[in-house]
């Protein structure tokens, strides 16, 4: 399974990619929503995208909305991984098309548990 990790922080991309790789995903990194969208538009396909919110050029919210608007990309599971912890913002993201939401800081089993909920990982997998 392939995952796209989108965050303007190299450190955070590394952390999320590491966790996903331990869970069996192959990962690709992008530094903002625009870079990620370019990959999708170039025909790259992924099963999962983990997306930060606050990024330059195109933020995570805009990316989620852009993906959600394209029927051909409906199979891409979108998980926001962000410090945005205001309830209103979370609701906005879910309404815009995010399937799941993880607030930073997060433990690796938080990501795993969300993947279990989404059926992308067998339940009960320890982290």
């Amino acid at each position: 399974m392939r995952a796209l990790v989108i965050d303007d922080s190299r450190t955070m991309r590394h952390i999320v990619a590491d966790i996903l790789e331990e869970l069996g995903f192959s990962t690709t990194q992008a530094g903002n929503g625009r870079e990620a969208l370019d990959l999708l538009e170039a025909g790259e396909t992924y099963d999962l995208a983990c997306i930060d919110w606050n990024m330059p050029v195109m933020d995570g919210f805009e990316f989620v909305a852009a993906v959600h608007a394209r029927p051909e990309w409906r199979d891409l599971t979108l998980i926001m991984v962000t410090t945005e912890g205001e309830l209103g913002q979370i609701v906005r993201a879910l309404t815009a098309g995010a399937h799941e939401y993880v607030i930073k800081p997060f433990t690796s089993d938080a990501i795993a548990s969300k993947l279990q909920l989404l059926g992308l990982l067998p339940a009960g997998e320890p982290i």
């Binding site: 922080s9 450190t11 590394h14 952390i15 606050n54 410090t83 205001e86 800081p105 997060f106 433990t107």
Partner: protein, 158 residues
């Protein structure tokens, strides 16, 4: 009038504990309040983000360069002996400030914007900046035998 109402020592300590449990120490937070006495940091590194509160505010972190390198190693799950590139340290410590700032932002009643993190060996020098709160913490770190290393979180009105 504080631009960061409701953000006190307890809140800052709780956020720090969660960040360290989740991303640094992985499960057990090796972070405690700094025991009494002055916090002396040689070779300091500063990282900060600003919030568009009224007036503007700043969430700032400060620690020693070696500690910042160890934090980077912890974030990136590197070995204790692996050398840390300056760019990695800047990114990692900056991200820590970003996560701190984001969590403090989430405590506020009104939605505000947060800036990208800045990292420097020099503290930020905004004229008229007033410190609202300082929370010195001690990180035990991953190398047995080392004394507690300080991590100082401060909130400012700017």
């Amino acid at each position: 009038m504080s631009p960061l109402p409701g953000v006190g020592v307890d809140e800052v300590t709780m956020i720090a504990s969660e960040i360290f449990t989740a991303l640094v120490d992985h499960r057990t937070a090796l972070l405690t309040p700094w025991p009494d006495g002055p916090v002396a940091v040689t070779d300091p590194v500063h990282a900060w983000v600003d919030l568009s509160t009224e007036p503007s505010s700043r969430v700032q972190l400060m620690t020693g360069a070696e500690t910042a390198a160890d934090l980077t190693r912890a974030f990136l799950r590197m070995d204790a002996t692996e050398p840390v590139q300056e760019a990695d340290l800047v990114d990692a410590f900056g991200e820590m400030a970003n996560v701190f700032g984001g969590n403090i932002k989430a405590l506020l009643a009104r939605h505000v914007e947060i800036t990208l993190p800045q990292v420097s060996r020099q503290p930020p020098s905004d004229a008229g900046a007033v410190q609202l709160l300082e929370v010195p913490l001690a990180w035990r770190g991953h190398q047995p035998g080392l004394p507690h290393r300080p991590l100082v979180i401060s909130l400012w009105r700017i």
